[in-house]
Assembly symmetry: C2
Homo-oligomer: 227 residues x 2
């Protein structure tokens, strides 16, 4: 291929504490910031990053670009703050979801079903500026690592839940099989949520059928004992 950047690759700009976001001392300030992030989330998801101007975001949030720039250093800072907020919500959700205490007494299939149903619902109802995230991930190593870490938290959490129930699994190599099943389910969910580029046979069937089909296949592959 060819070099993306003429000069040397820029170092990661993704850091946990965003000093380019004004702390926001007044209540009003925090409300405006939240509104700006909400607006950015919707617009980036609907129109894409480049097609959304800072004026669009400000207008949708009910303020002006001047106010926007009071809160965020520049357009990228707005984007990063949005990605970070989304990230934090996502991480909290994951941690609650894979908490072993929450699933005491549950069987593998129950856990996997909840994973599928919850992922589909969340993916449907929350605007995610996937394109924007891809653009940042393409250029920012730090953000890529952050994403990998998040995903790993989910994957490893689910894996631990399954492994704690390894006596349910008939497959001769439970761990390898479980990892593969999690890869498959993750891929299926992601494809189903983003039908634009990759239509599937199951695309026009209802979610319930998709979930059942996926679970049946997972159970068969893992060799889950129905007891």
């Amino acid at each position: 291929m060819f070099p993306v950047n003429e000069d040397e690759m820029a170092r990661s700009q993704w850091i946990e504490d965003l000093e380019w976001v004004r702390p926001g001392l007044q209540t009003r300030s925090q409300q405006t910031q939240a509104k700006l992030l909400d607006a950015a989330a919707e617009l980036f998801a609907a129109k894409g990053l480049a097609a959304t101007t800072v004026a669009d975001v400000a207008a949708r949030a009910g303020c002006t670009t001047g106010a926007l720039y009071h809160h965020f250093k520049d357009k990228q800072a707005l984007l990063f703050a949005l990605l970070q907020r989304t990230s934090e919500e996502y991480r909290a959700t994951i941690q609650a979801a894979v908490d072993p205490a929450r699933w005491e007494g549950a069987r593998c299939l129950e856990i996997l079903r909840a994973y599928l149903e919850f992922s589909l619902e969340t993916g449907r109802n929350r605007p995610v500026s996937k394109g924007a995230a891809i653009e940042v991930a393409r250029e920012d190593e730090g953000f890529r690592e952050h994403l990998a870490e998040l995903r790993s938290e989910l994957n490893e959490g689910l894996l631990a839940l399954l492994m704690a129930r390894r006596d349910e699994i008939g497959h001769p190599e439970p761990e390898t099989a479980a990892k593969f099943v999690l890869d498959v389910l993750g891929s299926l969910i992601s494809t189903r949520l983003d039908e634009l580029l990759l239509p599937t046979f199951l695309a026009d069937r209802p979610d319930a059928e998709f979930v059942d089909e996926a679970l049946t296949a997972a159970a068969a592959y893992l060799g889950l004992r129905t007891d």
Copy 2:
């Protein structure tokens, strides 16, 4: 949600014959057009659509914006022409790949292995401006339909190959099972090719291992007779 367009949704601009591309009567002209499309493919894939200026494309193709605009009505025409060229190549590849004559005497597993290996190799070596395609697909119904048709040609072709070998399939509902397996393999490939947002357990294992694992799972689910 909220309306993406203030006015009514624009009608599809994706049509098969692009009248906004100059026919190109001289040999030189066709070469320049090809170079411009090559340049656009590389730059859109590497930097994204919005971050690539028409001047970038022209420079990479070794000409100037003036020449570019001689060939293409505007930036969108360049993009559409690129998507169309890619599409045509893809369709030709698909048609050759799922031609029943080509697979005479082959077993299901052989076909599926070729599908996996070929998709991975192609996806790796050819720059695809996925982001650009997503942006067009988001706004253009006609292009979405076109994509669905392409994908369907691949899916249906593969399905026909498998169904012609339904005696190999032990699963009680061979067609349903085959469709599901094709969905799963398609999703896995797509995820593996685009690791940016969705890291998997198998991500850091070599392709060969990924392919074997996927095929083993497919064979188990379909209940493929090993003869």
